[in-house]
C-alpha cells in the first residue's frame, strides 16, 4: 500500500498524492530551488496537456506537454541526446525515459508556447527528473503550440 501526501493547491484544492508517484528532481527546475518534488497528473482524458504540480510549494504548477506533438522531429532530438539522458538519470531502458516540455501561457491563451530548448526528462522507473538544456541546438525556447499562435 502506498502512502499519501496531502497538498493544498490553490487551483485544485486538496490533493492526495501517492508517494510512489512523486517525481524527485535531482537538480531543481531552474528558478525554483525550493521545489524538488512534483506530481504529474492528466488534465482530463481528452487533453494532451498535463499538470506538473509542486509538492514542496503547491501554489506552483506548470502545464506540460509531450514536445513531439508540437515538433514531430523532436523524436530525433531526443535520440541525439539519449546517451546524455541515460548517463545523467541512470536510465536503464528506453521505455523509462519520458520527455516533457514546459508550456508558457501568456494572457492571450492562443499565444501559448512550449520550451523545446530545456525539456524535463524523467526516469519513469526511478521517478527522478531533471530539466536539461539542449545547448548548441537551434531549438526554440518559445515554440508556438497553436495554429493561431505567434507567427
Amino acid at each position: 500500500m502506498s502512502e499519501y501526501i496531502t497538498i493544498q493547491s490553490p487551483r485544485f484544492g486538496e490533493l492526495q498524492c501517492p508517494e510512489d508517484k512523486i517525481i524527485e528532481f535531482v537538480s531543481p527546475v531552474l528558478g525554483f530551488p525550493n521545489s524538488t518534488r512534483y506530481v504529474i497528473s492528466d488534465h482530463d482524458k481528452e487533453s494532451d496537456f498535463k499538470w506538473m504540480i509542486s509538492v514542496d510549494e503547491p501554489e506552483i504548477a506548470f502545464v506540460i506537454l509531450d514536445p513531439t506533438l508540437v515538433a514531430s522531429n523532436y523524436v530525433k532530438v531526443i535520440d541525439e541526446h539519449y546517451n546524455r539522458f541515460i548517463r545523467e538519470l541512470e536510465i536503464a531502458k528506453v521505455e523509462d525515459l519520458l520527455v516533457l516540455g514546459i508550456v508558457t501561457i501568456p494572457p492571450t491563451i492562443t499565444m501559448a508556447t512550449i520550451n523545446l530548448l530545456a525539456p524535463i526528462m524523467i526516469n519513469a522507473e526511478t521517478k527522478t527528473a531533471k530539466q536539461v538544456i539542449l545547448e548548441g541546438s537551434d531549438l526554440s525556447l518559445k515554440q508556438p503550440i497553436f495554429e493561431d499562435g505567434p507567427a
Binding site: 528558478g31 515538433a71 545547448e135
Partner: protein, 82 residues
C-alpha cells in the same frame, strides 16, 4: 569576487574535483576546458538565465481559467522555427 590571472595551459581547481583550464585565447575569445563530476551541471550563464526567466513566466500560481487552452488543437510542425 576573486580575480586571478592565468596563462594558456594553466588551470584552476575549485573544491576537490573541478578543474578549469585556459585552453586557448584568440583575440576576444577564450576557450575554457572544464573537468567536473557528471552531477555538476555547467551552463553558459546567458542560456541559464534565459531558461530561468522562461520557467518563471511558465509557472502558474493563480487560478486563471485555462479551459480554452485544454480544448484547443495543437499545431504540429516538422522543422522547428527559431
Amino acid at each position: 569576487m576573486l580575480v586571478l590571472t592565468r596563462r594558456i595551459g594553466q588551470s584552476l581547481i575549485i573544491g576537490d574535483n573541478i578543474e578549469i583550464k585556459i585552453a586557448e585565447v584568440n583575440g576576444k575569445q577564450v576557450k575554457v576546458a572544464i573537468k567536473a563530476p557528471s552531477e555538476v551541471t555547467i551552463y553558459r550563464s546567458e542560456v541559464y538565465k534565459k531558461i530561468q526567466a522562461e520557467n518563471k513566466s511558465a509557472a502558474l500560481s493563480g487560478t486563471k481559467n485555462l479551459d480554452s487552452l485544454f480544448k484547443k488543437k495543437i499545431k504540429t510542425v516538422r522543422s522547428k522555427e527559431k
